[in-house]
Symmetry: C3
Subunit: 391 residues, 3 copies
């Protein structure tokens, strides 16, 4: 890259690094301090959290001048929540604290311990395994794997030194067990100053000398105001299959949402989206009046499957929907393997995953995305399977 | 409340709060610093512990001028021990450190991991479940639940601004799992300057939108000098049932204690106490010569069942007895449910539990309590069941 | 002891102590600061580690002027690695971080969670149990026990105040569970300034009032340059038995090593060494050209069994061999008990274990140790069992 005026050091901040055993603790930087003249000034701040089960957790808050979001290095670089004008990204979980994985026992409740800390806008599920607990190869695999409860080994903030001065929060999360797996997930969450969107660009590296299975699901979760009664999920869909008999009963309404509903629990749908010729696709969640929404762009070559998690339970229990591009669905790994949805990575190989989240404000932008998605669908058929897959 | 000279800020100290991510660290206050002229000066101090498995634990030490006790925010607001003149409350566990829950794996040993950190004067067992491990609803429930190994989310010290200037150590302990439970236990341990007693006033709130089962047992534990050979447990008793066949063999001596006894292990008795008309009741443990004791007052409307845990093993193994008011007995939850001792809390509902512990010094005070308790019993019959309940 | 010029305080440094709740944090001392005039100046330094799963771990680095090694108080006083001239002791595990036990769930993967943090030169396995996971007395015993994932309760650095001014890093690791066990392992790793060797002198104390079983295996691990194709294990051997059918297939080559080998996995051999009349014995690992090696001296009265772990897998997966004196072999405890290899300690009793590790540089020193070992063997027979023991 030709960067004549590169001043790399001034704009790259190592916030923690296990290799050098460094940790910045409380830290912040602003566009003014960096002498970057963007139209919207930006700030990036790292906090060290206290109290209850969040003692010792670090949190990185980014405000690009228009959009605010937070990344949790201690919890696998998950995104806590976002905000853009009046639109909140994320949801209101009964779990309020940002739980230190030291206080999470993933094996508890027959492998459901992950639920003790679940409250994120985006938590990656994986990578040695993801999905519901189950015995596989004689081992109990806990819900959604370990990556979301693994502290990042190296965390770096980078501000590009050329316009548009994209802001990156990068973190390497190492998931490994001697003799079992050695994965590095190199994450990058980035945004442009003044933009209403952010991008997740991850690279999963199999550092082992052996080919290994992996699974990854981008569990992206939204509550009000995007989610409300009559909100809609919009996507170009090739096939939809109810996750289980419970979801099958409500198949006819699978793209629309109820308001907060007592005893609703959850419904899950396994979706195969259509894509443009280059594999790119777009899905959207918009509110009832279609004046605000979130657009999610990614590539089905990277993430061929998509899970729609409709958890329209009461507000207190967690009124939330998950839009979840993934390498497979959240069935137990043995089930997924049977259905050929557990990919492998060769020794030393890597796979990249890029997802862009954009906040849509106004009827026009929402309608535009509806049109975009309709164009991807074109006149291609939608296959609706009435019954779940056989296990 | 009409408090004309209220100076709330000066006498309320937030020691930690997850919501605002604050933590006071090392901290102390004294009656002198507060300009409170009590007959006995008092101090309250928070320490941050180091070393071994207690690294990172906070401890709040209260000295009311006559009675000293310590509260452990990191361990669910348990009470570590107390001291009043020559009388020690609590016991000498082989576990000396105040163990950070980060180093406790509750699921270990088939659900007995709780024993790795057990050394308290008072540890609450609960609240989603308590009692011995067992499979219930397909889930292994670990010994005595999670609340005693959950760091408090908010800790506040309050000194009343009116005589008698009662000192409160308050902590909210949140026990929750997405989709399973959302309990807040609002604890308050308080004492009056110069007093020989302290009061535990807890409120359990079901923050969920659903009715939920709960269990709570106040596992209050005493060793020497209150416990010795020929110490006695005194209570107004309606019914006593041996916990198991082992306890049944020693039923005739159930209210008296052995000295430290090799290979004794433990004996447990399930007790239904009588109460006064208002539900209040009194139980006591006193030493062999009846010159010192601990009086425990509580209400059977709040805590209808009482467990007597007689662990008169050797001094090094832990010579201790537990006097345990509770919503039920420490059988596995499925057993307790079968016997209708697993209460529920409606959505948003709460239950309060108040227990007062008073140190008795001298033959007179002990005899007075014996008389009090005899008066509660009156001529009402005691039912002694020779055999344990059927499971 | 007659030490006329004893200045004990100046040369004894308490780095942490749970009993007094002290912790030195970052700390260092040098021979110059101690005004000790050794031929080779030495330094001792404690660091507090940051980043990823090693957040909060303490590490003590010793440089005796010739040999460098590091002790990990947070991980049971394990030795991380050593270096002496061009010879590295230890190995290159895929696990790079020094993992805080707070992030290790020993019960995971059916009891294989220990593998999440395994990367040491020396990790003690034990002490209530060691070896492979298995159900015993109705309880799942996790791989290699708990001692290596237990933070030391008291850590002291001592420099002898008389020549040769031996440097000691001492740590007490308490492994206990109420009603199950109460062990204190008093460890001491020491070295003389300018020496190429270090000594591990441990004392295991059963603080319980009951006789208890215990197991301890000194899992000492070496990779390149000592381990390479055609490296040799040299020992005076009375009996060798393959650990399992897999190892049995390669029995004829059991004392020589392959280079890094894909899909090799591991081979394990159960060895009974011969000893000198006083019980002392010597084993060695040397490289292919026999110009460098590590000599290990210990006493078979203390540690009668020896396990040779040959994990000559690829470099990235972990190319490593374990030379492991122990009270038994790493079969599950129930298996070991059946074969009378689970010793007990009476109430209050203790057992000591001393192992000396010396780096050998040059053909002469290696040949000398070969001769020493041959002298121990003398003309005593070697029994090679073709088949593993029956379970």
């Amino acid at each position: 890259m030709s960067r004549p005026f590169l001043s790399a050091n001034a704009r790259r901040f190592v916030l923690s690094d296990a290799e050098t055993s460094t940790s910045a603790g409380e830290w912040s930087v602003s566009s003014a301090e960096l002498a970057i003249a963007t139209r919207t000034p930006f700030t990036i701040r790292q906090r060290l959290l206290h109290g209850g089960r969040q003692e010792g957790v670090t949190l990185i808050e980014v405000d690009n001048g228009k959009l605010q979001f937070a990344v949790i290095p201690t919890r696998g670089m998950s995104l806590l929540q976002g905000k853009c004008g009046g639109v909140t990204l994320g949801w209101n979980s009964p779990v309020k604290e940002i739980v230190n994985p030291a206080f999470v026992q993933l094996g508890a409740r027959g492998g459901l311990g992950w639920l003790d800390g679940f409250n994120e806008l985006l938590v990656r599920c994986g990578v040695e395994w993801a999905g519901h607990p189950g015995i596989d190869n004689g081992e109990l695999l806990s819900l959604h794997g370990r990556i979301g409860n693994t502290p990042a080994s190296k965390v770096v903030v980078v501000v590009d030194d050329q316009p548009p001065y994209r802001i990156h929060v990068r973190g390497t999360v190492v998931e490994q067990t001697f003799k079992f797996s050695d994965y590095a997930l190199e994450t990058d969450v980035s945004t442009e100053p003044g933009s209403a969107s952010f991008r997740v660009s991850d690279k999963l590296v199999n550092r082992s000398d052996y080919e290994r299975e992996f699974q990854i699901i981008y569990h992206s979760n939204f509550g009000p105001p995007l989610l409300e009664s009559a909100s809609r999920f919009v996507a170009p869909v090739k096939q939809v299959v109810p996750f289980n008999a419970h979801a099958a009963r409500d198949l006819s309404n699978w793209t629309s949402y109820r308001g907060p509903s007592e005893r609703f629990g959850e419904e899950v749908f396994d979706v195969v989206p259509y894509a443009r010729a280059d594999g790119s696709t777009t899905v959207m969640l918009h509110n009832a009046s279609a004046v605000c929404g979130v657009r999610i762009d990614y590539n089905v070559k990277e993430l061929p499957h998509f899970t729609l998690w409709k958890n329209t339970d009461t507000m207190k229990e967690g009124y939330v929907t998950g839009l979840e591009p993934g390498t497979g669905y959240p069935h137990p790994r043995s089930f997924e393997r049977k259905h050929a949805r557990v990919p492998t990575l060769a020794a030393g190989a890597s796979r990249s995953f890029t997802i862009e989240y954009a906040v849509l404000s106004g009827a026009g932008p929402v309608a535009d995305v509806v049109a975009d998605i309709a164009k991807i669908q074109g006149n291609r058929p939608l296959q609706v399977d009435a019954a779940p897959e056989n296990s």
